[in-house]
């Protein structure tokens, strides 16, 4: 049997979403960004919302997110994606608008914007990639960097007396009545990817139902920044990141109700 005999529709077990662009990604092998992009592209296709989706890309590694998903995009200034998304969503209330932000972008320079977008309950999805480090600029400390974790600006490990504490911003977000669904997921195993996809799907459906802000944190790896192999990164994340940032739904409610499990 030759290769061409195998390539038939009935033998197809996996297909790339048509909403995902057929280009090389600039992400490092082992990085979580690619998986989350794939989930988003698949869901946009499955839910049939390509024509009404507008993404807002951050500053950071995902600054080029607009190269990978075939929808309209705006590229925001560092930390300002929630404000940009507000402008789009308020004027196109029937569109599906989402921001895609990293931990430096969302929890540090954009801390004010994210708090207020969630507090106003803007009808958008926020995808928050938390890998505890600034990837694009070369591995500096992020607000979510764990205590003792070595980065290029904490060469002797994060010292909480000097640098403050790793910020559980998602738990803060869950306290805001403007949010409807706040969850923390990961994509380091096949099971986790499936679960994460279900969460993002629910979050998108919430936005389509105009239920307010949905917020999905994805605890992620940055093997280049962490200076580990992809497999070691996944193991390290499971042993260190997930105990501090436990996975699961933090709030599943409706806008206007400050219900939080933590």
């Amino acid at each position: 049997m030759e290769l061409k005999d195998l390539i038939k529709p009935e033998n197809l077990v996996y297909d790339k979403s048509k909403v995902q662009e057929d280009v090389y990604m600039h992400y490092c092998p082992g990085c979580s960004h690619g998986v989350v992009h794939k989930i988003l592209a698949e869901l946009i296709e499955e839910l049939g919302i390509q024509e009404k989706t507008v993404g807002v890309a951050p500053v950071g590694c995902a600054v080029f997110a607009y190269n990978y998903i075939d929808i309209d995009w705006q590229e925001a200034a560092h930390g300002r994606a929630p404000a940009v998304a507000t402008g789009i969503s308020r004027l196109y209330p029937d569109n599906f608008v989402f921001t895609y932000q990293g931990d430096g972008d969302l929890a540090s320079i954009g801390a004010a914007e994210i708090m207020h977008v969630c507090n106003r309950g803007e009808n958008i999805l926020v995808v928050f990639i938390n890998n505890g480090i600034y990837g694009m600029t070369g591995g500096q400390m992020a607000p979510t960097t764990l205590e003792g974790m070595v980065t290029s600006t904490t060469p002797f490990g994060r010292n909480v007396d000097l640098n403050g504490y790793p910020m559980k911003i998602t738990n803060l977000i869950a306290q805001l009545p403007g949010t409807s669904y706040v969850t923390r997921q990961a994509v380091h195993t096949a099971a986790a990817v499936r679960k994460c996809k279900r969460s993002i799907k629910k979050a998108i459906e919430n936005v389509l139902d105009k239920k307010g802000t949905s917020f999905v944190e994805v605890v992620s790896t940055c093997n280049s920044g962490w200076k580990m192999t992809p497999v070691d990164s996944n193991n390290w994340m499971e042993a260190n990141m997930i105990p501090y940032y436990p996975l699961g739904d933090i709030k599943d409610s409706v806008k206007g109700e400050p219900v939080s499990k933590n």
Partner: protein, 373 residues
Amino acid sequence: MAEIRLMKGNEVLAEAAIRCGCDGYFGYPITPQSEVMETLMARQPWTETGMVVLQAESEVAAINMVYGAAGSGKKAMTSSSSPGISLMSEGISYIAGAELPCLIVNVQRGGPGLGTIQPSQADYFQAVKGGGHGDYKLIVLAPSSVQEMNDFVDLGLELAFKYRNPSMILTDGALGQMMEKVELADFKPRWTNEEIHEKWGSWATTGKPASRKKNVVTSLVMDSDVMEKNNLRFQEKYRIIEEKEVRYETIQWDDAEFMLVAFGTSSRVCQKAVEIARAKGLKVGLLRPITLFPFPRAIIKELARKVKGFLSVEMSAGQMVEDIKLSVYEAGSNVRVNYFGRMGGIIPTPEEVVEALEEKFSWELSYGVKRSY
């Protein structure tokens, strides 16, 4: 029949925005322009035209909301005063870099820092030279009456879309707070989403229909060669704006030996100064730039060949005077260009202006000007 009312400059900005079919206003309170958002909130235009009005958490957020709205092809605007415009400068640079149309109003107050809440023109450099980082220009309109505050909202947005470039109304606390008679414009309907798709479908993020490629609004270019091409394209756009969009007004300039040059509130002071000077037998005229960028260089070059001197009258330490000097230099003229102004929120008096003219040009008044061409 046009509607005529007695209104504050700041209130008129709000009314004009509703009437010209503006889609979204995003702002943050700051003296002396808070009446803009207050008027909008009281008018509730969302019940009438569907215009969105939102109080942002900061000027930083407000300008980025404008970015988002403008990037989707909507008519978006914000207003603030000097310290707030400094905070917005990051966003304005991104808007210029992404070539988005919008309107920014700066109702200036005295600076630097928190400064005063009284009127000033000390943000001239910030407005006409770019303000934020990178090589860019705003189209800057300088109203001198409440009527022009009204007219320039529509004009500013029109020019912004014509050139896909942010426009700024550079005004001050005096014009914002002053009440005058104003003839309001008729209501223009807001563009429908279909019209926006039709007009701006080549760049606006309206949601990607199957019929077109995705639109990406960004100012990021990693390739230097491509970025330089963008820069050159921007510069060419600014050159065309300089060629086509210069606006100014001249008063008593036919026989003038000395020209006062002033914009906004200080130009009103200068109108009176011209009268006083003329009564004293001094042949004085006034040039009022209406667009600060593009700056009316051609008329200054023409005047430089016939007058004995220019006096730039500003509510700043002397900023526009540099642009006048550049134009006079370009004309190959050696007439002197002087500056007179007040700072700290103080408006000069017409008498002070005439006194300054007589003092600074005492040589020319006695002996005339030596021309070298």
